[in-house]
Symmetry: C2
Subunit: 447 residues, 2 copies
């Protein structure tokens, strides 16, 4: 610890080391306070690139960094790996599974999780994409689907296993659908002998009238066209009414038999509001004032996806990484000012820099103010921006190298299945005998 932290220094507890929490911690680096960062994981996860771990392009370590490593030089900061279970605001205590901690200032930055619109039973068959474990689980599901299809003699089973459904047409859904289509059509197609991965089916289901609703309509239309050119089936104005181990049911009684479903619809905040007993909105986000303080609680702040923040004009602040970082920085500066007795900053003002989404390897949509890019120039810009915002020179070099290599060779290097054959799988699948054909007959055509 720094030797010159005053003995009576206040303790700032930050729950969550995502984009918001880390910025808050860093903004307190010079303040005369003790900073304690709690997270239930040991790493910070760069969520915008999780879909690339899920589709076997990047490795987990490319998009995650140990929180301790990030804050190691910040001598007034301490990192503890713990899962918060509750808060006692009167006693100013945070309770976690392995410790209890008294705070002078509390910053809640616990992010968001997936909402299944009341159907939490779907979560087991339709995983979301918020953490590293989600990404590796989806990756495994995708790769195992092709392996099992290769072993199968039943055309219906093969068709189901090579059908992938993505639910939700926002940026995450668009990116996942495009990446799965690329993996199937370009990376894997020469790896298999009995199946033809190019005949996989990728379906993107969106309940609203267009994709990427946060972007202007012409960019939505561009994304739609790009996905369709990649062979993705896009179903708009279509709601999902059921998810099970064999596929999805859609409103209007249509059913798609699918071996893999990825959930990219419906985001809801973490239960920080329940810990406080404070008022939250429909998405469980904490109501905050213009300084991101939680009304009615002394010295409690909420930032990022956990907070229902509004910009200067009363519009909701979007749940994207740059917004979380701006909120973290604001709260950090505010607490620093209060602790050192200097002038606090004015109310929080959100500055929207722009929107980015990528569709496969060659197309992206970029909007910054009036500046727009599409196609390959968009993808290049998107890549540079993401590499820039990664943490650490080493990861920037690794990810840039990986993308350049993949782009040039169409390979995807991170195709690890870490579960062995024989675990999971349907009892209903037939057990083929090889060779099904007698010696001397032709090999079966690709299916």
């Amino acid at each position: 610890m720094r030797h010159d932290i005053p003995a009576d220094a206040q303790t700032v507890v930050i729950v969550g080391a995502g984009f918001g929490g880390l910025e808050a911690a860093k903004a307190l680096a010079s303040a005369p306070v003790r900073v304690v960062v709690l997270d239930r994981q040991n790493h910070h996860c760069f969520q915008p690139l999780l879909y690339q771990v899920a589709t076997a392009t990047l490795s987990p370590a490319d998009v995650a960094w140990p929180i301790r490593g990030i804050l190691r030089r910040q001598t007034n900061a301490q990192v503890l790996m713990a899962r918060v279970t509750g808060i006692d605001p009167q006693a100013r205590m945070v309770h976690a599974d392995t410790l209890s901690l008294r705070y002078d200032h509390l910053v809640l930055a616990t992010g968001a999780t997936h909402s299944y619109f009341g159907r939490d039973d779907w979560a087991g068959v339709a995983p979301g994409l918020k953490r590293i474990e989600d990404a590796t689980a989806i990756r495994q599901r995708l790769l195992v689907a092709f392996e099992r299809a290769e072993l199968s003699d039943d055309p219906d089973t093969v068709r189901r296993l090579t059908t992938f459904v993505v639910v939700g047409g926002g940026a995450t859904g668009v990116e996942m659908a495009g990446a799965i289509a690329e993996v199937a059509r370009e990376t894997l197609h020469r790896d298999f002998r009995r199946i033809d991965p190019r005949r996989s089916r990728v379906v993107l289901v969106e309940a609203g009238p267009r994709l990427l609703p946060a972007l202007p309509e012409d960019l939505s239309a561009y994304a739609l066209g790009s996905l369709r050119r990649m062979g993705v089936e896009v179903l708009l104005d279509t709601r999902v009414t059921g998810c099970d181990a064999h596929g999805v049911s859609l409103a209007g009684s249509e059913r798609i038999e699918a071996g893999s479903i990825v959930w990219a619809a419906g985001v809801v905040a973490s239960p920080a509001g329940a810990w406080l007993g404070a008022s939250t909105d429909r998405a469980r986000r904490l109501e905050v004032d213009e300084h991101l303080r939680v009304p009615g609680f002394d010295d409690v702040y909420a930032i990022g996806d956990t907070a229902a923040a509004r910009d200067g004009e009363g519009r909701p602040v979007p749940g994207i990484a740059p917004a979380a970082k701006q909120m973290g920085r604001h709260v950090g500066r505010l607490i620093a000012a209060r602790a050192s007795g200097s002038t606090p900053p004015g109310p929080f003002r959100y500055r929207h820099h722009g929107d980015l989404a990528t569709i496969g390897r060659r197309a992206a949509v970029v909007r910054i103010g009036r500046f727009r890019l599409k196609g390959f120039p968009g993808w290049l810009f998107w890549s540079l921006a993401h590499v820039y915002f990664l943490i650490g020179l080493r990861n920037r070099l690794m990810v840039a190298f990986t993308w350049a290599w993949n782009y040039l060779t169409l390979q995807r290097g991170a195709r690890l299945i870490t579960v062995e054959a024989g675990l999971g799988g349907d009892a209903a699948e037939e057990r083929p005998t090889f060779p099904a054909r007698p010696a001397g007959s032709a090999p079966p055509p690709p299916r």
Copy 2:
């Protein structure tokens, strides 16, 4: 599939895509046969570098490659992910969980697993290091041990959690012990505030009189000295009599309280011998003749760690990667000659090229014939050799870059814990309250 494989081509089934199995498959690339490679995993694992995944230096994807990707261009080869459960040599059938397969030639290349000398109950608390999952499990255990120590108020708990025992003084044990000591003393020591990782205790236990028994005595002595200089306690002539969740018991009633135990002693072959009902040696390896055929079975071969092979002078062939590759190549050429009717090669002759082992980042021992290297020159040679033998240019570049970066910055980038707080852990551990000291008193000294 190649269109010019004769319709009556023989089927070669290779079980296991490790070093031996892959070389056998590649040696059959031009033969008029159909090659089917079965493996229960989808990837080939570069075992010599697993200890670097286990100590958070490399990522799993750096040392593993999809088998399909490796064999994609070999048009007479097909890869199926399946777990073999038995063999019917009379019917010439291989039975697996998801398929049955008729063979004309069968190559068993299923490798080795760990032996606990009859105490298989130790496997849960003292994992070995043969597969990617082993490495990530050990990595998790090591990193979580430091996290839990950071949270603990009890000095005995801290001491136990930061004590690491490695059982077995062969190359794997020496490499693990050196790497753990490096991680604790160099990489992590500024990441923690309440504990001092430099005060971790790393103990290497070897039942015999010296380390690296396969190498000459002066190199054993050098390894011993290097490890001790790194702070590793080396106990020779010491047998382990018990392993449990809190430590190890040694012959002579000594006990070491330890939070993590890694098993690098005792190797035994996979159960391929049991599948065949053939005779095996004490380590469960299949007896083979001078052509690596299993006596008494038509057209069944065994290679690598699964086989009790002998070199031209009757000495046992060591269980190392180059030996497995030589055996795989021999069997591939033998089968190719038989299938095409050409002159078969002579008996298998093992050529021992040399020995390598590394101790931490700056020291290694190398022996090639009369040529010896130690220290940093040995490490450089060791690094170049391992990079050379990796599969694929991309992985060679990534690993070389990672090692160069780590060497220069002392960082280890792959420090991911993929399990969240609150899962696992002892009920017996105290639950500390922070701050244990009242406001105004000094922070506790590092423990």
